[in-house]
Amino acid sequence: MLRVAIKGILARKLRLAFTALAVVIGVAFMTGTLVLTDTINRTFDDLFATVYKGTDAVVRATGQFDAPQGMGAQRGRVPAWLLAKVERVPGAAEAEGDVLGYARIVARDGRPLGNPAYGAPTLGGSWSTVARLNPFTLVAGRPPQGLHEMVIDRKSARDGHLQTGDVTTVLTEAPPQKMRITGIVRFGSTDSPGGATVALFTLPVAQRLVAQPGMFDTISVVADKGVPQDVLASHIAKVLPAGYEAATGAQVVKETQSDVRKAMSFFTTFMVAFAVIALVVGGFIIFNTFSMTVAQRAREHALGASNRQVLGSVLLEAAAVGLVASAVGLGLGVGVAIGLKGLLAALGLAVPAGGVAFLPRAAAVSLLAGVGITVVPACSPARKASKVPPVAAMRDIVTGSSGYGSKERVAVGTVITCAGTSALLTGLFSGVPDKLAVVGPGALLVFFGVSVLGRSVSLPLSRFIGWPLPRLRGTTGQLARQNATRNPKRTAASASALMVGTGLVAFITIFASSTKASIDTTIDKSFTGDYIVASGAGLMGGLGPSLAGRLNRLPEVEVATGTRAGLVKVQGSVRRVLGLDAPAAFRLLDLRPLAGRPADLGANSIAVLEDVAEQDHLRLGSQVHVVFKDTGPRALRVAMIYGESQPAGDYVLGMAAYRANFAAGYDNEIFVKKSPAVSNTRALDAVNEVAAGYPGAKVLDRASYKAEQAKPVDQVLSLVYTLLGLTIVIALLGIANTLALSIFERTREIGVMRAVGMTRGQLRSSVRWESVMIALQGTVLGLAVGTFFGWALVRASAKQGIEQFSLPVADLAVIVALAALAGMVAAVLPGRRAAKLDVLKAVVTD
């Protein structure tokens, strides 16, 4: 039986190579993702283990709540007077206060380095004078000493074209500072910790600029020789007042490592999802190829092979193909990992240099996935081949099976589609904890169900799609149309593979377009000012508050007010809240106040969105429990209820409450309204002139603000397009494969047509249009599924501010056109092969 299987493989080298390629791509992607994850984990693990080697204990405020996405426990600061107490603890050799916060280094060309909103953080901190505690090492220059000195990381020096001796600006909560660079540092073996930019000052300067005078973020302690970390930590714990804790160095390393893993896990999940999609598409192709080849096989086996032998040899062949393809994919995966690392670097998240970690787990998962995705789809065709009498199989080859498929098929397809749809909707609309774990499989089931149903709609769909072909392309068009409809099962299966890719592209396009439309509407509806000064910062940092103050004092400006952001835990869940200077901000931002007055938003008050208030039975005067990282749990009184969820979100704090509970005081954005008496250009000039002193501050009018908000959407979109492009390429391989096999089966009739006068060009053209029809069929189904997905996600994201469903007709038309074009490309090789066919041989041999 093995011999038969091997012979089978050798006889179908080319076809199998094509098929295997689909598996290779999926496995390579999967391996690449896993290898990259392992590599990142290992290098960061090593990195933190090394740089914190000398730290035996860390004193810090108790964590108030855990923030998602690897941001770790949110905690306040430690008063500086604790240092003296900690130093005196038995077993403590040395102790030092540390500060780490937000700072942005301005490059030589005047632009601030890094992209804190979407990339690695931009950090500012204190230079440690205790060598054992200092994770940084100088590679040039000397440590910072004066009030206006700093050292920066080597990556920032390189990216910003800065060197020791240069004076450059640093942006912090304080007004922009001129600082002399006295040295360049590395972080352990890397130029920067994970691609972050780092500026280090003397401790007092760091406290003033990025923290608070008299406060540390943590105190690091070195143990006396022979004192274990846990003993030291427990000694320290005894002298600490309530609200503070001592952790061992090992514990901090572990926490940091796990935070990095969590931060990376979003990326990893994202990439694994694409690897799974690629593999699923590969599975469709495997199914199709084996369906076609076993029919031909049945003829070869007609002489004497038992059903079990047929079944066994087909499965063995599938396993062998899967194994070889997975092995190749595994090898290529290492290359993919290196490529993905480059992608991460391009996103501003640098992975430390070092060898690639190729762990057995990655190999095992990839091999299993690769072999599984080959063998499982081959099962059904193999079983069929062992049941169907060879004569029937042969007839099937020549004339194809027409019709709409059995009733059972329609029933099964409908059940699967409905199951998928309900999983999808459940995941999206009900509060399941891990949405992706429900939505992902649900979406796959929908694709699967539609592909089962696809066979039943294939015929009318093909007729519809191919309707203009005879008009456009005459006889070749008509032949293409007939060929595409002659075996609806096969056409549907080939189309299914493409459906997944185009479906996801359509989905993401619709979702992105809806997001952008919603952003535009929100801005038009809520923003009643003229300009916005954006900081480009994320949750941490932003514009120093002095900018808003200076803008407010301009005679050209009627009012300028900064908005602040911060993480809190409110009613049990972690979320971002907005801090507003209430009376002023409400003149620039229409949040549709329903009850209470902005002026009531004092230090102990909070404003709540109408929907949330309704859900939690809150009214004016009710209490809301909020946990702040700096001040801990607080009960705030509802002083206002508003109706507009964007851009404020569910909760808004007045500036007094924000200041009372957040140590940091950065403005995330500044809203500006010009004086009515002043012309637009004059006001804009004035605002720009002030903002010029704050590198990184971007002055935007309404239109450019919209564009700016849409930018990250477009960036994600192009990344997703790239990744989905891969699955589309795989699907095209499938179409090419189907065509090549069909052409092989139709050798005789192609010979006849060539003999009675079909030119090579006409033959290629008919193959081309058949391919286009298959591609369009997949695309039409994909658009239908994708539109549904897009609609569902948009409806489910209303709370996140995506309130508008926008169908980007032009973009979808482009997708259809590209799919048709791709179909033409897929037809090139099969068409060429068909054209090369020896007419005489085809006609005469029987």
Binding site: V398, T399, G474, T475, Q478, L479, Q482, N483, R486, R748, E749, G751, V752, M753, R754, A755, V756, G757, M758, T759, R760, G761, Q762, V839, L840, V843, V844, D846
Partner: protein
């Protein structure tokens, strides 16, 4: 048959012609000479039968004349056109416009109806053809009520008649038929042959048919005998008796 006849004279009378046609298959040791210098002409409006033992080169001659294969040396003409000067595209167009085929196996396109199969060469040329002519052919072959059927819904004889109708549809210069009755029962075979005869007599077609069957050959105006790639004999107005006698002579 005068070999040296100038072309200008022959084109007007000859529908097809070979001059010193040689076809060698394989190379070196495996070399096999299928046509060994055949010079022969086929007059317009004539029904010729090519006969000879198996492997004598009948099919090869037909294929080289029909532009499906190329001669190793010598010339093949359809009308006045020298096939050796044509590239693939020109040969294809020649087959489409000037040649009709009927093969032993029923070579129809399975996805097309009988009507579409008949019109295929015309459709490929984006021509509608002469409807009256098509109707005439269709009724002559007796397929009028089968036109919308696909090949797998037709009997062998009907399929072969569709093939003949297809060959006639574009009024080609010549129709080639390679053992067209080989797969038919004798009644269908006879029907087909008398139809071919009608095409020659009433429609003025030129037909060159390869056959093994003396009775089939007797429908032709002329029977040409091949052996080892050479023309060895020819009978005008063959009868089954005459042909059989001649075949027995070669058998000896």
């Amino acid at each position: 048959m005068a070999l040296a006849t100038p072309q200008s004279l022959t084109t007007s009378v000859l529908a097809a012609q070979t001059v010193e046609a040689v076809k060698v298959y394989g190379k070196g040791q495996a070399e096999a000479c299928a046509l060994n210098g055949i010079s022969i002409g086929f007059a317009k409006g004539q029904f010729s039968a090519i006969m000879g033992p198996s492997g004598s080169g009948k099919s090869t001659l037909l294929h080289c004349l029909a532009g499906l294969d190329r001669l190793t040396s010598g010339k093949a003409y359809i009308g006045g056109t020298d096939l050796s000067n044509l590239d693939d595209r020109q040969l294809t167009l020649l087959r489409r416009d000037s040649i009709g085929f009927v093969f032993q196996a029923f070579n129809l396109v399975p996805t097309l109806t009988a009507k579409e199969n008949i019109l295929l060469p015309l459709l490929l040329a984006s021509r509608s053809g002469d409807p009256a002519w098509i109707d005439h052919i269709v009724s002559t072959v007796g397929l009028a009520h089968r036109l919308s059927h696909r090949p797998d819904e037709l009997s062998g004889g009907q399929q072969q008649r569709v093939a003949v109708a297809r060959a006639l549809a574009s009024r080609p210069e010549v129709i080639f038929a390679d053992e067209p009755t080989g797969n038919l029962d004798s009644r269908s075979g006879t029907q087909l042959l008398s139809f071919l005869r009608t095409a020659v007599d009433q429609l003025g077609q030129t037909i060159i048919m390869v056959t093994h069957d003396p009775v089939a050959a007797s429908h032709a105006d002329r029977a040409i005998f091949l052996n080892d790639g050479q023309v060895v004999d020819e009978i005008a107005q063959p009868t089954p008796r005459l042909v059989l006698d001649r075949m027995n002579d070669f058998g000896k």
